[in-house]
Amino acid sequence: MLSIYRLPGIMPDEKIIKIVRQSFFVLFKKIVFFILLGMIFLAFLFLGVVNYPDLLNEPVYFPLIVLFGSSAYLFIWLFFFFIFIDYYLDVFVITSERIISIRQEGFFSRIIAEQKIERVQDITSEVKGVAQTIFKFGNIYVQTAAEQERLYFKDISNPEEIRDVIIKLAETKHRSYET
């Protein structure tokens, strides 16, 4: 996907201009959430052992706690992995010919949408709130001449810069058609 050889329906002379992902801040928030979740569970276990020292020698409760703990941590770890996959595989590829939005949704859903650069009519960048302003991320909306739903990419880094890149590419394309 990140390689030009894996771009869906690659055109002759098509070049990748930019590959954009969600801001790292978005992933960081989720990482912190999962670390906290793991620590809360560990704290409960610790409190249980401190208050009931015999728990570790209990023939029934101890194995059940280990089974539950192991399942919980495997689940948290798996979910964390899918959060990373979701972040890593959601990309917005700007090429010399197209804008391609690739989104991984859940375990089995993958959505690929694209628009030709020359059809871009309007592009809006949006930075809202304190976190987005400080960490420089926001949303991009791309409206094209086609009566299709506009392309939307959420929480990407430097949305203004991306908007400028797309505007310049669209202008260059329009000029090349006029001459």
Partner: protein
């Protein structure tokens, strides 16, 4: 009524099998849809390493358990030894 503690172990095995299936789906996504590079390789290595760590630690504790211990569930509502 009493059941063997091993029932819970079998339930755990079912959970681990499902978990392994979803893990393989995740690894497949990384391999199939991303460029084979340092980030994708590292993410798979870290995930597999972490998983093996959790499973290994679980095995260490679970291997010491007598799984034939009966658990009273009805009437005795989870027979508790020391509580």
């Amino acid at each position: 009524m009493a059941i063997s503690l091993s029932i819970f172990l079998y339930l755990y095995y079912v959970f681990v099998a499902l978990w392994a299936l979803f893990s393989l789906v995740g690894i497949y996504h990384i391999v199939r849809f991303s460029q084979i590079g340092l980030v994708s390789l590292l993410s798979v290595i870290i995930y597999v390493g972490g998983s093996l760590g959790i499973l290994n630690l679980s095995y260490y504790f679970l291997s010491q358990v007598d799984w034939e211990t009966p658990v009273a569930i009805l009437g005795g509502a989870f027979k508790i030894g020391s509580f």
